[in-house]
C-alpha cells in the first residue's frame, strides 16, 4: 500500500519553493564545474546527440529477431507473438521451408513500431527465443513507411553486428530428444 505524501504547508509559499529549486540547480552546476570536471568523472549532463547514454541490456526498447548459429532466422512463424500482441502491430507471412527439419519459417515479418506499445508480450509469448526487446530506443525516421520494420531491420541491422544468436538451438533440442 502506498501512502499519498501531501505537500507540507511551507512548500505552498512562493519564495521558499523557488529558492530551494534554484539552490538545487546551483549546487549541481557547482558540482559539475569544480568536482566532476576536475576529477575526470562523468558530468551529470550529456552532450546529446554526440554522447549517448547506454541503457541496460534488459531495457525493453526496439525489437530484435534472433538468428540461429548459421545466421538464418530463428523464428518459426508460429504467430504466438502476433496473437499475444495487444496493439496488433505484428504481421507475419509464413511459408514452407525446403529443409523438412525446419518446415515453417517467416518470409515476411513486420512490426509497425508506431503502433507498438513496448509491452514485451511478444518476447514472453515466443517459445523459441526468436524475438527479444533490445536496449535501442532512439530510432527516428523521415516518413511513416520507415517505421514498419521488416526482417532486414529487425534481425540484421548494423547495430546488431550480424545478428544475435538465440539460446534455443534446434539441433541440441533434437539431440536431447525433445
Amino acid at each position: 500500500m502506498s501512502l499519498v505524501q501531501r505537500p507540507k504547508p511551507i512548500s505552498k509559499w512562493y519564495l521558499p519553493g523557488i529558492l530551494s529549486g534554484l539552490g538545487l540547480t546551483f549546487a549541481k552546476m557547482m558540482k559539475n564545474l569544480f568536482i566532476y570536471v576536475k576529477s575526470g568523472k562523468h558530468t551529470v549532463t550529456y552532450n546529446y546527440p554526440e554522447e549517448k547514454y547506454e541503457y541496460s541490456p534488459r531495457y525493453k526498447g526496439n525489437h530484435v529477431l534472433t538468428v540461429k548459429k548459421d545466421g538464418s532466422l530463428r523464428c518459426t512463424a508460429c504467430m504466438l507473438c502476433a496473437t499475444n500482441c495487444p496493439a496488433e502491430c505484428i504481421k507475419i507471412v509464413a511459408a514452407e521451408h525446403e529443409d523438412p527439419s525446419v518446415e515453417k519459417y517467416p518470409i515476411s515479418y513486420e512490426i509497425d513500431i508506431l503502433r507498438c506499445v513496448f509491452c514485451g508480450f511478444c518476447e514472453e509469448a515466443c517459445p523459441v527465443d526468436a524475438i527479444r526487446m533490445g536496449p535501442e530506443w532512439q530510432t527516428p525516421g523521415l516518413n511513416g513507411s520507415q517505421f514498419v520494420y521488416d526482417i532486414k531491420q529487425l534481425a540484421y541491422r548494423p547495430q546488431l553486428k550480424g545478428g544475435i544468436v538465440s539460446v534455443v538451438d534446434e539441433e541440441e533440442r533434437h539431440r536431447a530428444g525433445i
Partner: protein, 518 residues
C-alpha cells in the same frame, strides 16, 4: 428399448447402441475419443474413451461396448480420470513438441485433452523416436509421421468410405508409421477428408498449410456450390479473405464428408478473382461505374419502348438462388415483356453422372430450382432459338446472369463468343474473366454477390431446399440478382451487406504507409 444410467442420468436407448453413441445423445456429456469417428467402423485402439461400468472390475472402452439393460456407467470417477491421464501420457511419449509449427494447433484434440487431464511433466527418460517428416502423400495431403498417434482413422476412411485402400500402417511397435504402399500416392477425390478426421496434425492439407493459424479464423455455415449435391459446409475466413472449407454433418445430404473439388470453391470468392465495379461501354468508350448506376442505366434501356419486347433475351445459369431467379424472371416477363429466357447448361453430356458417394456431374447448386421457376412461369425455350435469333437479328439485347464458378464451365469461352454477337450484351458476373474484358462493342459488366454474401435458397438434385445466410462481404458494391432486378426497375437499392467485411480494418498497416513524408 434398454434402460441405462450414464453419470447419474437415466437414458433409454435402442439395442445395439454403444456407450459412446449414447453419451453423444446427452447434452454436455464429454468423452475423449481419437480413434472413434461416427462415420467410420470401430477400431478401439486409442483407449482413451474408457468408462467404469458398475459390477465390472476393469474399465471398458465406450466405443466398442454395447449397452445392456440396467447398465450403470460413469466416466467421472477418479479411476477413469487416472486411466485417461496415463493413456494420454502413452500417446505423448513419441509425439514431438511441434505445436508452434503444427497447423492443427488450436483445434487439436491432443492439446485439449492435455489441458483437461494431463498437465504433468513427462516421465520418459528415453529420447523420442524419430520418424519421417513432411512426407508428400499425394497431390493434396502432407504427412508428418512423428505427430501421428496411429488412431487409424485415415486408414479406415480409405478402406471403408472411398474403398481405394491407399493408406496402411507399416512396421511394428513404436516404429509404426502411416504410409502408402510402394510410393503409390493418396490420390482420390475425397482425400482431404483424412485431414479433417485426423485428430492431430499428422495429415495436413497442402492448400491450407501454413496460411493461417486456426485461432485467427471465424466460421460460417453454408452450402457448397460445387455441384448439385449441396453438401453442408463451413467456410473459415478472416479479414484477409476465405481460407478453407470443411464439411458439416447432415445425414440427408452429405453425412460427414465432402469432396476435394468442393474445397476449392472458396477460391473464386476471394477479392483477386472478383469483379469489383461495373464496366460500361457507351459510344465506344468504356468506363468504370458504381454497379447501381450501371444497373439503373441498363434498366432504363431495357424498359424503353423501342427496346423492350421480344428482342431481349435473358440467359440464366444454375448458380443462383431461387429468390434471385424469381425476381429476375418476373422483371423480364412483366416489365420487359419477353419470354425468351434461356437455360445455359454447362455440361449436357455428364449432367447425370454420379460417382456413388457425393460428386455429381451437374456442377450447379440450383439447376433444379431454375427449372422449377422456369416451369412455374411457363417458359419453354431451347438454346438453338437464341443462336438463331442472334444470327437473324431477332434478338438484339442479351442479359446474362453468368456463372460464379467459371472453372466448371468448360464452354465459357465459346458461349462468350456466341453471345457477343448481340448488339448489346449485359453480363452479370461475380468473377472477372479475360474473355469478358476482351469483348468489344456495347458491353456492360455488373458485379454480383457470391453465395457467401447473400441470403437465399438452393434446391439440390433430390429437390431438398437448403437456405444459405450471408456471412461476410468481400466486394462491398456487388449486388445480388434480386437487387439487380430492383435496380433495373429504377429503384435506388442499397446492397445489403453482411456485418463482417473482408479487407476492412487493420490488415496491411495502411495507416503508417499513408502518413507521407515530413
Amino acid at each position: 428399448m434398454l434402460q441405462c444410467t450414464i453419470n447419474g442420468k437415466e437414458l433409454e436407448v435402442k439395442p445395439g447402441t454403444t456407450i459412446i453413441e449414447a453419451m453423444k445423445l446427452i447434452a454436455h456429456e464429454d468423452i475423449a475419443h481419437y480413434c472413434w469417428h461416427p462415420g467410420l467402423p470401430v477400431a478401439g485402439v486409442c483407449r482413451l474413451c474408457v468408462v467404469e461400468i458398475e459390477g465390472n472390475p476393469r474399465l471398458q472402452i465406450a466405443c466398442n461396448t454395447q449397452i445392456t439393460d440396467g447398465m450403470k456407467i460413469t466416466n467421472q470417477s477418479e479411476k477413469v480420470k487416472e486411466a485417461v491421464k496415463w493413456g494420454l501420457d502413452f500417446h505423448l511419449i513419441n509425439h514431438p513438441l511441434d505445436c508452434p509449427i503444427c497447423d492443427q494447433a488450436g483445434e487439436c484434440e491432443l492439446q485439449n485433452q492435455y489441458m483437461k487431464f494431463g498437465k504433468y511433466d513427462s516421465e520418459m527418460a528415453e529420447p523420442k523416436v524419430k520418424k519421417h517428416k513432411v512426407v508428400d502423400l499425394g497431390p493434396r495431403v502432407v504427412l508428418d509421421s512423428e505427430r501421428c498417434i496411429l488412431c487409424s482413422r485415415c486408414v479406415r476412411f480409405t478402406d471403408e468410405v472411398t474403398k481405394t485402400h491407399e493408406l496402411g500402417i507399416f512396421n511394428r511397435g513404436d516404429r509404426s508409421e502411416i504410409g502408402t504402399f510402394n510410393g503409390r500416392p493418396l490420390d482420390n477425390k475425397y482425400s482431404l477428408n483424412t485431414v479433417d478426421i485426423c485428430p492431430v496434425g499428422a495429415l495436413t492439407s497442402k492448400d491450407f498449410r501454413f496460411r493461417q493459424r486456426v485461432w485467427f479464423l471465424k466460421e460460417h455455415q453454408t452450402i457448397c456450390t460445387g455441384c448439385s449435391t449441396g453438401c453442408n459446409v463451413k467456410v473459415s475466413y478472416n479479414k484477409e479473405g476465405l481460407f478453407r472449407v470443411k464439411p458439416v454433418y447432415n445425414e440427408q445430404v452429405n453425412g460427414y464428408w465432402m469432396c476435394d473439388e468442393g474445397r476449392d470453391v472458396y477460391k473464386y470468392v476471394n477479392k483477386p478473382a472478383r469483379l469489383l465495379d461495373a464496366w460500361m461501354t457507351t459510344a465506344g468508350r468504356g468506363e468504370w461505374l458504381h454497379p447501381l448506376t450501371a444497373a439503373k442505366k441498363v434498366g432504363e434501356f431495357l424498359r424503353a419502348p423501342e427496346n423492350k419486347g421480344k428482342s431481349v433475351a435473358l440467359v440464366l445459369t444454375g448458380q443462383h438462388t431461387l429468390e434471385e431467379y424469381e425476381a429476375l424472371i418476373s422483371f423480364f416477363k412483366n416489365e420487359v415483356g419477353t419470354d425468351r429466357i434461356f437455360h445455359w447448361v454447362n455440361n449436357p453430356e455428364s449432367m447425370n453422372d454420379f460417382d456413388g458417394l457425393l460428386i455429381r456431374g451437374d456442377k450447379n447448386p440450383n439447376t433444379k430450382g431454375l427449372l422449377e421457376t422456369l416451369e412455374r412461369h411457363g417458359i419453354k425455350t431451347e438454346w438453338k432459338e437464341l443462336i438463331d435469333g442472334l444470327s437473324t437479328g431477332a434478338i438484339r439485347t442479351v442479359v446474362v446472369a453468368g456463372p460464379e464458378n467459371q472453372a466448371v464451365y468448360p464452354d465459357f469461352k465459346a458461349k462468350v463468343l456466341e453471345l457477343s454477337k448481340a448488339q448489346k450484351l449485359v453480363w452479370l458476373t461475380a468473377c472477372k474473366n479475360e474473355e469478358l474484358e476482351r469483348l468489344q462493342g456495347d458491353v456492360t459488366l455488373i458485379p454480383l454477390k457470391t453465395y457467401i454474401e447473400k441470403d437465399g435458397t438452393f434446391v439440390n438434385y433430390a429437390g431438398l431446399r437448403q437456405t444459405v445466410k450471408k456471412g461476410l462481404t468481400v466486394v462491398a458494391n456487388a449486388m445480388s440478382l434480386v437487387e439487380v432486378a430492383e435496380a433495373f426497375k429504377g429503384v435506388d437499392v442499397r446492397p445489403e451487406e453482411a456485418p463482417f467485411k473482408v479487407g476492412v480494418g487493420r490488415v496491411n498497416n495502411e495507416a503508417t504507409l499513408q502518413r507521407g513524408s515530413l
